[in-house]
């Protein structure tokens, strides 16, 4: 009887552990992208280390973290090279986003404005703006999280659309991007999430399905440490 009991309980535990391992592996994110720290910067909160991060938004998933064949959903829009971003705490983080995708009218004009950056502005192709044309938004990059025992962080920048008829850049599958740069100051260590707040999941209700609702495409994590 002891043997049978051990077999049943042990077998059950193994099944549960195996299921857990499979699910854990399935949820794993791509390898993280670390911001590079170069020198310091003068900020309204004093002199802080200056970290730099460059990410891209693509009209498909061939160039992101899903491999050159686009992974399971090659036609989904995606961020790249990784959706798992790591930045240092108490630093000035300057993010550059190369936005390759088209776009249209944003549904919530709130997200056509810049929020949460150091001076409330972003730089689009060299020009400093506080908001973009709400009729030509490609994506947004919005950092937020539950305000739980960590410093709050809310940053949202709109990424203007590349007009649909723009020809591809030479030697590239994509048109020349809109280059957007912005900076924000991180607080203490914490786990945050980011996602695009411009619904671009075509064919889904409210365009918020598909890539919008899948981590690794239009949504990811930002870890401050």
């Amino acid at each position: 009887m002891v043997l049978g009991m051990a077999a049943t309980v042990g077998g059950g535990v193994i099944v549960v552990a195996l299921t857990g391992t499979i699910l854990w592996r399935g949820s794993a994110q791509a390898s993280p992208l670390y911001a590079t720290v170069k020198g310091t910067a003068d900020t309204p909160q004093g002199v802080l280390p200056h970290a730099f991060l460059t990410i891209d938004t693509y009209p498909d998933s061939m160039a992101g973290e899903h491999g050159s064949d686009g992974g399971a959903h090659p036609d989904w829009v995606s961020y790249g090279p990784s959706s798992d971003l790591r930045v240092p705490a108490h630093a000035l983080v300057t993010v550059t986003i190369n936005q390759y995708d088209g776009g249209e009218t944003i549904t919530n004009p709130y997200f056509a404005s810049v929020h949460g950056t150091v001076d409330g502005t972003e730089t689009v192709n060299g020009k400093s703006v506080t908001k973009v044309d709400p009729d030509a938004v490609g994506h947004t990059f919005t950092i937020h999280a539950a305000p739980t025992n960590q410093d709050p962080l809310f940053v949202s920048v709109p990424l203007p659309a590349v007009p649909d008829d723009t020809p591809n850049a030479p030697n590239s599958d994509y048109p020349p991007p809109n280059v957007v740069t912005f900076s924000f100051i991180t607080g203490g260590p914490g786990d945050y999430v980011w996602n695009c707040e411009f619904p671009c999941g075509d064919g889904y209700y409210a365009k918020f399905g598909g890539p919008m609702a899948t981590r690794g495409y239009m949504s990811g994590t930002l870890k401050v440490s």
Partner: protein, 657 residues
């Protein structure tokens, strides 16, 4: 060869197509499902527009529907109607074959009409579903053991929560009416089989077809919505949602079939002399539950059909921008959802009510009040659905009336408590596992019921709706009272269903582990819910850390306890001590049949002369049933002539004890 076969005429029995019909089983069913599913997939791809963003939903639904139809063809569900339509109705030999006569274990893997076989099939299906749902619960609690775990990503977690929910809902709907409503109920009313034996098999195999459809959802992107599948989030969901909604549609058909079968059986096939006053309370509870399911499940089905239309052809039923309303889904869903919890709860509590007199050696207290309580609960339960929608903004003016009807349900529920504690009062309490289940129900259901009263209060619900408090409340009722009742029923009726006794010692170990683990999990959950933790979150604020940690530890204890229960059942089934035909001294008719139970239950159909609760009435009690002087005719043509010699034994006093 029995006489019946010779009567058919000069020509000998010819097996019309009995050859291939008798080779159909689970294997051919799966093959049929896969083949037709593949054909459906192929044609769906061919005939749909691949640029349509909804094409994957169209193809998925068509494929799943073809799987289900192919599965049913493969198991032989259509044989009966086809044979009848083509004028070659099933012969007596066919019906005996279908009833599983002389077939051993293989009859459990076929379209067998014997209600005892269907009951065992439902028992195994319930255990399978509980195992799947329980494994997912372990995943959930592992993720929630720390506030910011990276064990599972958010879409995996949300899917697991939703799948755990719907798997457990299906498991708990069938867990008492499936095994015991099928196996025990016909014997308890003195019948040879159900009114519609082929429909009996049909209801089980529809469920079997639906299970892979439901589990496939996990492999098609999962469901982001929780088990309630709210639109419009469900509209946005990946193809896993199609697996969910198709499984619901199939399951609703299965429930309707089973409900019609059980209701007709009880209404028309009770033994002679079994007036409503002499009908055991288990029968009332089962009929009330399936009778409630008959209008309720179709509401769920219709909610999913409209969702399917939205998902495949952009129907806009639930899309406000297209003229639809998200509140439509909620109303349809809760018109099912609230009666459904009583569909789950009533059979379990009533099964405990049926077994408590046996282990207190006292009559059921206030039988009429028990029946009124059941009727009151079931009747009121169709009028309370929008208490799930107090905060939805749908109809704030209706919040008051729904609060009224919801709080009124506490009165018939209280009557059920009166009946149970009245039965216990001054009894001779024999603390077997079934009886301990009654006590556990008394503890758990009070907590579950009282916390339901909190939720029925509209302003309190403004705080508690959508928090873990709600989760803890419904686990206390559906699991603490429901599953506990089912486990008690299992230990009670296992000797009759399998001929063996389950180990009391092992049962004790499992019972205490599950009950203590259960209370630890969900008391901790009440605490974090009151403190403000929302439901269905994969990470949470640090302030909820202690409560969640405690809950997760309790969950592991439940898991281990349920594995001990699994071993108890398996080892009891294989090597348990042989059970006498009436180990508990029960008086209802199922204890009067010998083990192993004859194919058609009774050599001679009994006549009922009194109710089954004559404990303590000594020699004055007439007993529940007698054998008649002359045997009665077979109950129904559908059940076939009894395959036994007719008996001319004179009238005997048959005490069922």
């Amino acid at each position: 060869m029995s006489e019946a076969m010779v009567k058919l005429g000069a020509s000998p029995e010819v097996d019309h197509g009995g050859g291939w019909m008798r080779r159909l089983n689970l294997g051919t069913a799966i093959a049929g499902g896969v083949i037709l599913g593949a054909i459906g997939w192929f044609f769906a791809h061919h005939f749909t527009d691949s640029t349509d963003p909804r094409v994957s939903d169209q193809v998925t639904l068509i494929t799943l529907a073809c799987w289900a139809i192919g599965f049913m063809v493969g198991i032989g569900a259509f044989n009966g109607p086809i044979r009848w339509l083509t004028g070659r109705d099933q012969t007596h030999a066919d019906e005996m074959f279908l009833a599983g006569k002389d077939q051993g274990v293989s009859r459990y893997f076929r379209f067998t009409t014997d209600h005892k076989v269907v009951g065992i099939q439902y028992l195994v299906a319930t255990m399978l579903l509980l195992g799947c749902g329980g494994t997912l619960a372990m995943m959930i609690r592992t993720q929630l053991i720390t506030p910011h775990s990276t064990f599972l990503g958010p879409q995996t977690y949300n899917s697991i929560v939703g799948l755990h929910g719907i798997i457990m809902i299906i498991a708990t709907i069938i867990m008492v009416t499936g095994p015991f409503g099928n196996f025990i109920l016909p014997i308890m009313i003195g019948a040879r089989d159900m009114a519609f034996p082929r429909l009996n098999a049909l209801s089980f195999w529809l469920l079997a077809a639906a299970i892979p459809v439901l589990l496939s959802a996990g492999f098609m992107g999962g469901i982001p919505t929780g088990w309630s599948g709210y639109a419009p989030l469900a509209d946005q969901a990946p193809p896993g949602m199609d697996g969910y909604l198709m499984a619901i549609i199939i399951f609703a058909i299965s429930s309707a079939v089973a409900g019609a079968n059980i209701t007709t059986t009880v209404l028309t096939m009770r033994a002679r002399g079994m007036t409503w006053n002499r009908t055991p309370i288990f029968i009332y509870g089962t009929v009330a539950s399936v009778g409630l399911a008959l209008p309720a499940l179709p509401m769920f089905m219709s909610a999913q059909v409209l969702l399917a239309v939205d998902r495949t052809v952009s129907g806009k039923f639930y899309d406000a921008a297209g003229g639809g309303s998200p509140w439509l889904y909620q109303n349809l869903f809760w018109l099912f959802g609230h009666p459904e919890v009583y569909v789950i709860l009533v059979p379990a509590v009533i099964a405990l009510m049926e077994l408590t007199p046996v282990f207190a050696r006292k009559p059921l207290y206030n039988f009429n009040a028990a029946v009124l309580g059941i009727v009151g609960i079931v009747g009121l339960s169709v009028m309370v659905w929008a208490h799930h929608m107090y905060a939805s903004g749908w109809a704030p003016d209706l919040n008051g009336p729904f609060m009224l009807t919801t709080e009124m349900i506490s009165v018939p529920t209280g009557v059920l408590f009166l009946v149970v504690i009245g039965t216990i009062w001054r009894g001779k309490i024999w603390t077997t596992i079934p009886m301990m289940a009654t006590y556990a129900m008394l503890w758990n259901f009070i907590i579950g019921g009282v916390t339901g009263i909190y939720l029925s209060d509209v302003p309190a619900d403004y705080d508690l709706h959508g928090s873990m408090f709600v989760t803890a409340h419904f686990h206390y009722t559906l699991m603490g009272a429901g599953l506990t009742g089912a486990i008690g029923a299992l230990f009670y009726w296992f000797p009759k269903m399998t001929g063996r006794m389950l180990s009391h010692k092992l049962g004790l170990v499992s019972f205490w582990m599950v009950q203590i683990g259960f209370n630890v999990v969900f008391l901790g959950m009440f605490a974090v819910g009151l403190a403000g933790q929302p439901r269905r979150v994969f990470t949470y604020d640090h302030m909820f850390a202690v409560g969640n940690f405690v809950s997760s530890i309790g969950a592991y204890v439940i898991g281990l306890g349920m594995l001990v229960l699994l071993y108890t059942v398996i080892s009891g089934w294989r090597r348990g001590p042989i059970a006498p035909s009436n180990p508990w001294g029960g008086k209802t008719l199922e204890w009067a049949v010998p083990n192993p139970i004859p194919l058609e239950n009774f050599e001679v159909l009994p006549v009922v002369i009194s109710d089954a609760y004559g404990y303590g009435e000594g020699d004055v009690s007439p007993g529940h049933w007698v054998e008649p002087a002359e045997p009665l005719e077979p109950a129904h043509a559908g059940a076939g002539a009894p395959d036994v010699e007719t008996s001319t034994v004179p009238l005997q006093e048959g005490r069922a004890e």
